[in-house]
């Protein structure tokens, strides 16, 4: 090989070919797309926030594991151009078998075909991996339990972040306190000078690592009010799979919201048909029952629990009820009475009526009946579709703000 390399004619031709060897450190140093990835990530988050109603409508979210990664379809980070639509034919190569006219060769997304990537619109989905936690953070960023009052024997801890507390010599860049850093440099400079240096002779006196001062901040815990949330769900026979699914989705979001924002909120689950009973979280989200419907039974159970354990004088009480409104007529007066009482003893009583579209119009509605209740903290809402869940949820929690605005 050596001999060949020294062949003069060869030297002449290879002389201008340059081989640059691999430089392992350059790869680590220059992660050149980092900035663009970050910006893209921010846009994705923005898009998620704008599409949260759709994401929640995805069945896959209803579950328990907060670390679970879910695929989120996103609109809004697409790059648009003028492209041809569906009536533009394409050409492909057949494999081992002869293609036959009428044979199906592909599904939907044409852009996946090699050789023509990028010149056709892909399917609308751009999927990204997001953990459920991340979504919940985004969802609940600006929501709170409404009308939270200060009650005695406060327990509920509200995390108020970043109270400033002193200074440290170590820290992250963004917390650098420039003024103090400059001052400590001056101190060190003065201390190092034994006698006055004549003007003009002063040497550069750079910052030293020891000069750096950083803000220190601590997470601040404050005890706030006590709160309990009562979730009442209709589990009667008229609640079909779809209705139950909608109700559970609603409660699941509520549950996630409370868990993520408040550390010590009590949650009580009540399932009712003609009778009501307090159930565990597991049963509430996963078990089905059947039978007729006495809404009043659920309300009375709730009242009973409130009186026994969560006296309104000490507790902020939030009651949410989901039902299809298909109550036995004979129970209506009792239900009305119990609902009125519940509204009196709670900060907020939300009733969500689940009427899937196309589920028939025979069902009666409790909303009409409840319109007689005049309490300001009573709120009814109808949920028709999966997409309504998020809006109805926000409506419930935004209630006090709306009222304040009106006032």
């Amino acid at each position: 090989m050596r001999g060949q390399r020294e062949d003069p004619t060869r030297m002449d031709r290879t002389s201008y070919t340059i081989f640059r060897p691999y430089n392992p450190s350059s790869g680590q140093r220059s992660d050149r797309s980092a900035g663009d990835r970050l910006r893209h990530r921010q846009k994705v988050r923005e898009a998620i926030r704008n599409n949260i109603a759709d994401i929640i409508a995805e069945e896959s979210i209803i579950g328990k594991d907060n670390n679970r990664i879910i695929k989120v379809p996103i609109r809004g980070v697409k790059e648009y151009r003028f492209v041809y639509g569906d009536n533009a034919p394409g050409v492909g190569q057949g494999g081992d078998q002869e293609p036959q006219p009428g044979q199906v060769v592909g599904q939907g997304d044409q852009s996946k075909q090699p050789g023509q990537a990028g010149d056709r619109p892909g399917i609308d989905y751009y999927e990204t991996d997001v953990s459920l936690d991340e979504i919940i953070d985004l969802m609940f960023e600006d929501l709170e339990l409404p009308d939270l009052e200060r009650k005695r024997l406060r327990q509920l801890e509200v995390e108020k972040q970043f109270r400033q507390k002193g200074f440290r010599r170590k820290g992250i860049r963004v917390r650098l306190d420039k003024k103090r850093t400059a001052r400590s440099r001056l101190k060190r400079k003065k201390a190092s000078q034994r006698k006055e240096v004549p003007a003009g002779l002063s040497k550069r006196f750079p910052f030293h690592r020891d000069d750096l001062r950083y803000h220190h901040s601590v997470n601040d815990l404050r005890r706030e009010s006590n709160a309990v949330v009562l979730c009442i769900m209709d589990t009667s026979g008229s609640m079909d799979t779809m209705k139950k699914y909608l109700a559970r989705s609603f409660f699941f979001i509520l549950y996630q919201f409370i868990c993520s924002r408040y550390q010590n909120v009590e949650i009580v689950f009540i399932a009712h048909h003609t009778e009501a009973q307090e159930v565990t979280e597991e049963d509430f989200f996963h078990k089905g029952e059947s039978g007729g419907t006495f809404v009043s039974s659920g309300y009375n159970k709730a009242l009973e629990i409130i009186n026994q354990r969560y006296h309104p004088a000490l507790w902020n009480v939030y009651v949410f009820h989901c039902s299809d409104g298909d109550n036995f007529d004979s129970d209506n007066p009792a239900a009305l009475k119990a609902a009125t009482e519940l509204a009196q003893s709670s900060n907020l009583f939300g009733y969500g009526e689940i009427k899937p579209l196309g589920a028939g119009y025979y069902g009666s509605s409790l909303i009409q009946l409840f319109s007689q209740i005049e309490a300001a903290n009573f709120q009814t809402i109808q949920i028709h579709r999966k997409e309504d869940i998020w809006t109805s949820f926000k409506t419930f929690l935004a209630k006090d703000r709306a009222r304040e605005d009106a006032a």
């Binding site: 081989f19 640059r20 060897p21 893209h40």
Partner: protein, 485 residues
């Protein structure tokens, strides 16, 4: 020294091996008559390669979130093993720069180096690249990057506003002139042409014919002739754009122009490089183990992708067919075209210089090849692609036509600015030169929105939707579709 050591530990070859092989390959390259730019190779790892892919191989490139997006996408595909990485990447510059993957085996590197010279030769000699100013490529991209970064860092401009312009510019960047070797006429020349055209054609019997009525051309119309460079037109005719906005439009336009020749010659270019890497490696008399691996790799790259279209495969088949038909024409062909006055090789080099994908396929994709490549045409029905034509006697021409419509810039709808003062209210009027393929409406709407943002007034696009002449006009944040009667 340390670097060399790592290199030794992780690779089954050294840089010196590569240099030795390179000199042998170069000799072969010159022997077969290829004429490349000087070549530089850089050995990189897979992360580097991903980055180069995202930024089109450029050592420096202006930032934009879309590159972050494609990086994430490529990385996910790569990490999950859905798709591998290319063995190499070459950029059209003088000297040409190519990146070789560190983890590839020696046989693969040899194949790749030969392949790179094929591309390099094509860049240097194909007519479509003649306007790309290859000697300034790296500097141009660097200057673009610096300017864009400068605007991002300028406190009076900032990332968000730069991004807004870039988003819009990216959407429109490929709406530009397709054949850069045709000179763009200056404003004066266009005016002159207009005057020329207004004169009646020379008529030898003018004495006995009635003199045609003179129609004075509308010299006030802007543009005088339909204009294809959308970004440049907006830049030059929207007085409200700031200098930095105009500069960003220029940057995006220049980059798009740089890449148009590569879009235009994908099949030819890949076919050419594959054709020659095969020839060159066969001439090298590789030791057996290397030769076996070469055959395996070569077959992997060149195998047809059922349902799709492998440009390497299609391109190489056509090149081989040209050589064969010119070297050993059949009696039938001799009868039809007369005696060949060129050898196969001469013909190859001529074609490499003067064609691009559309003309290449139109001239040299024969019926025999359409059959051999097993091409078929498909159409979208509902959510499925269904085979509509297969390569038989009646249909092969149509399949060829469809293929030509799906290569190079024929995949980009032709849209030109016709009038910048439509209805006398500064509406920008565009016409889509419809060829049977409708625009995708959602994309058209969003793209018009971007154009509206840049133009600052209403924009209207005339096109055909379901065979009806329609006018899509975008203003006040919404799209209106009017069907012309």
């Amino acid at each position: 020294m340390q670097h060399n050591l790592t290199t030794l530990l992780t690779m089954d070859y050294t840089i010196h091996d590569l240099e030795d092989w390179n000199s042998r390959i170069l000799q072969a390259v010159h022997q077969v008559g290829l004429d490349p730019y000087p070549q530089e190779f850089e050995i990189c790892d897979h992360e580097d390669m991903l980055s180069y892919m995202v930024y089109s191989g450029m050592p420096s490139h202006y930032p934009h979130w879309s590159y972050g997006k494609s990086f994430e996408k490529l990385k996910t595909l790569y990490d999950y093993g859905v798709s591998g990485l290319p063995y190499e990447m070459v950029i059209n510059s003088n000297p040409s720069i190519a990146y070789l993957m560190r983890d590839n085996s020696l046989a693969l590197q040899i194949l790749t180096i030969a392949h790179v010279y094929g591309h390099n030769d094509f860049f240097k000699n194909n007519f479509t690249f003649s306007a790309t100013r290859a000697q300034y490529t790296i500097e141009t991209f660097k200057s673009h990057a610096n300017r864009a970064r400068h605007y991002v860092e300028d406190p009076s401009i900032g990332l968000e506003r730069v991004e807004r312009i870039l988003d819009a510019a990216h959407a429109l960047s490929l709406q530009c002139r397709r054949n850069l070797s045709i000179r763009k006429l200056s404003a004066e020349e266009q005016l002159e042409n207009k005057v020329q055209e207004s004169h009646p054609p020379a008529d030898p019997f003018g004495a006995i014919h009635r003199r045609p009525e003179y129609v004075s051309p509308d010299f006030n119309k802007v543009p005088l002739y339909p204009e294809e460079d959308l970004l440049i037109f907006v830049r030059d005719h929207n007085p409200h754009l700031a200098d930095w906005e105009k500069d960003l439009l220029t940057i995006v336009h220049e980059q798009a122009q740089y890449f148009i020749p590569q879009i235009e010659t994908k099949i030819m270019n890949e076919g050419w490089a594959s054709f020659w890497h095969k020839r060159i490696l066969e001439s090298l008399e590789l030791p057996q183990n290397l030769h076996l691996e070469f055959i395996v790799r070569h077959t992997q790259v060149l195998r047809p992708t059922p349902g799709g279209l492998n440009p390497y495969h299609v391109g190489m088949k056509v090149w081989e067919n040209i050589e064969k038909r010119w070297d050993q024409p059949t009696a039938e062909e001799e009868k039809e075209y007369g005696r060949r006055n060129k050898s196969g090789t001469e013909k190859l080099f001529e074609v490499r210089e003067v064609e691009r994908d559309a003309s290449f396929l139109r001239r040299y994709l024969t019926e025999e090849l359409v059959r051999e490549l097993n091409l078929f045409e498909y159409r979208t029905r509902g959510n499925e692609q269904v085979v509509s034509r297969v390569a038989d006697d009646q249909n092969w021409r149509q399949i060829k036509e469809t293929l030509i419509q799906n290569v190079g810039t024929s995949t980009i709808p032709v849209i030109k600015v016709e009038d910048s003062d439509y209805n006398n209210n500064r509406t920008l009027f565009l016409r889509h030169y419809h060829d049977g393929r409708d625009l995708q409406l959602e994309y058209a709407e969003k793209t018009l929105q971007y154009l509206h943002q840049l133009w600052g007034h209403e924009v209207a696009l005339e096109t055909f939707l379901d065979s009806r002449r329609s006018l899509l006009s975008y203003s006040d944040n919404r799209l209106a579709i009017k069907n012309a009667s």
